[in-house]
Symmetry: C2
Subunit: 412 residues, 2 copies
């Protein structure tokens, strides 16, 4: 059933792949204007979704994610503006001549057609499509049922913007999928170049394990902060607070702090005091329990857990090696941080920790496509192949090698 | 059962990941010397495999792939020498400062542990391991049963070379797998960073569809040559001959030629004459049949077929657009070529054909890691994610982003 939509999208994508950056950026800018002009219509459509969701007793966090506000729309416009200012992910790369004189030119090209399966956030309809357009791809959007009216309103603005510049509407296809059959179909849609699940761990795992089309896994961040014996205590407190408090529900938030035994007696009580106004629950080993009066005892599950909330696992370690072992065992290869003024400890941590991003004296919360200057992100890849870490527009491209010959043959 | 081997390989890989290029190259050079010193032992082990294979009545092409000769061993030494001369795939990449002043440093690092499942060619034991070492990875080798003695002999040379430089032997692990249970286990070995199937289409498809670990698909090459109306006829004949004759059993060989109607009457008979000494069987459409006396009629299956032998599918097209449509429909996204002196036709072909490598006035047979100057290849990726086209040492690496802060926090 989606075969026809995919074919239309492929064809439309070929048009987009040829356009210069300025035209792709003009489309993004046009969308920014439409988001202002039609703000009331978008908010009205969203209000219908929110009303229905409340009538169906959806849980409050999900309704919070569903709800659009003038501020959230302004944020989406800022994302599009940042994306416009980001460099072109398409175009010429390395060029070289082979031993036989053939000229090879690497060229970044769009993947073709990407699809995204997402949940209640309607903002994804703007952000993911912006990234697709910037990188020359057509996109199939399969949003959550509960956001259907909001997504329709936003997709219709994209279609208006496409019409304004004279590009095919098949570049952006919103799929209405009340019975989830289309999500199923997307996972097995031969010819689809990439499928990205964006949402909770359940959705991501279902897609990764079932899909037969190419998928990039995003998401789980069990991020650690290691406070070394040579740490600046105040810096470690700030980085702990930023990592745990500033946005606890996101994947780059801190979940576990590892403290060198040499500093535990002084630093742990200060850390506890720093976090206590926010109601953080400490899950500590025996030594942490002795220093944090209201800590609960950490179990094996705590070391593995991505709390996504105001909980913190805490453990005392004997050495940098112990910290490295703990992270190797429990980390999710997302973002890991050390605070230390020791050159050798810092360098060893950077070299030995196997993660997408490793931080020396900085907060894991910087693992983000905007912070990295990519102009946005499709998510944060925790896999090693293709894209690792924040996925900006370049993660939605591939390489084509162009060979310029003058009758070159290999074995004649 | 492989969990312990994987853990040992991971640990050994961490040692290798830290070594400078000169030491990795020294190991490759040591292996080159050992291949000379122990040539007789390797050939003797191989002779036992060949004897057993003959006793078991294996088919002759498989025995040919199994058999080592002094010339083949010299070729393997040359591969290692080429790999030594190739640039370091590891090390520093882009470095930039974010808007907030955080310094980000992209670094190419090894994937960790890669595994390869291969069939009768014992040379893979040298080539694949060389690529793994060059790129800082540990490797698990699961070769074919029939090559077991040869693989043992070659792996023991690697272990000797590792011992000489003082590196752990767990960097190279040869798996003996007479009942194929280990191949099965590799496909689901949690923590394995990459599995590459190398061999026939059956093996590759089985691994791609069944594996739950990261896999890169290599292989199928249904490569086309389009002879444009503005082609240089002699050049097109040379490129046809090179593509079809020089090594018909490989994936970058030509399978189909598309001829513009304006040149068919003159060019097709010349092409037929050029290929006739080699016994090429033409599978033509009606117009080709009229020009090639001994052609057989092409069926739909011929357009899809990767012959890997002395067969050639041939079709007359009305235009460049028709040729592009044919390639879009039947191509395997591997390597495609146009011969033309028309600037506009050449540029359109390069831009619109969706393949790993597109050739303008050159043979598809250049799609090869040695020809590209990579110092070797793990195969030719026909997927768009991670690696596309010939996979040299860099395809066995990933990126880690290192963040240097001085107490940077995001939201405080």
């Amino acid at each position: 059933m989606l075969t026809a939509q995919l074919a239309d999208a492929k064809q439309a994508g070929q048009v987009l792949a040829m356009t210069p950056l300025a035209e792709r950026n003009a489309l993004l800018e046009s969308m920014e204007h439409l988001l202002v002009t039609y703000q009331d219509q978008v908010l009205a459509a969203n209000a219908r979704d929110v009303d229905e969701a409340q009538a169906r007793d959806l849980d409050p966090p999900r309704i919070a994610r569903l709800k659009l506000t003038p501020e959230k729309l302004a944020g989406l416009r800022e994302s599009l503006a940042a994306l416009r200012q980001a460099p072109d992910p398409l175009g010429a790369g390395r060029r070289w001549q082979t031993a036989r004189g053939l000229i090879l030119q690497e060229t970044r090209v769009p993947l073709g057609v990407i699809a995204i399966i997402y949940e209640s956030r309607p903002g994804v309809t703007v952000e993911a499509t912006g990234l697709a357009i910037k990188s020359g791809n057509a996109i199939l959007l399969r949003g959550g049922r509960e956001a259907h009216n909001s997504n329709e309103a936003l997709a219709s603005l994209w279609h208006q913007a496409l019409k304004d510049v004279g590009w095919p509407s098949a570049l952006v296809t919103l799929l209405h999928d009340p019975d989830r059959s289309l999500a199923q179909e997307l996972m097995h849609l031969k010819g689809l170049d990439l499928l990205i699940p964006r949402g909770g761990a359940g959705l991501i795992q279902r897609v990764v394990s079932e899909a037969t089309v190419p998928v990039i896994e995003t998401g789980v961040g069990n991020c650690h902060l290691y406070v070394d014996e040579a740490a600046d205590w105040e810096m470690a407190l700030n980085i702990l607070q930023d990592g745990k408090i500033s946005s606890p529900a996101v994947c780059n938030a801190l979940e576990t702090v590892l403290i060198h035994r040499a500093v535990k007696d002084g630093w742990v009580p200060q850390a506890h005091e720093r976090l206590s106004p926010y109601g953080v629950v400490w899950h500590g080993d025996a030594e942490v329990m002795a220093l944090v009066p209201d800590a609960v005892e950490a179990t094996e599950a705590d070391w593995q857990e991505e709390y996504l909330g105001l909980h913190l696992a805490a453990r005392v370690v004997d050495s940098l090696d112990d910290a490295l072992d703990h992270i190797a065992r429990y980390g999710s290869h997302h973002s890991e941080a050390i605070v230390t003024n020791s050159y050798s400890a810092g360098q060893r941590f950077l070299a030995q920790v196997d993660a997408a991003v490793v931080y020396w004296n900085a907060s894991t919360r910087f693992s983000d496509g905007f912070q990295f200057g990519y102009g946005g992100e499709m998510g944060i890849s925790t896999q090693k192949l293709h894209a690792r870490g924040p996925m900006g527009p370049e993660a939605l491209t591939t390489v084509k090698t162009i060979a310029y010959g003058s009758g070159h043959t290999r074995d004649m």
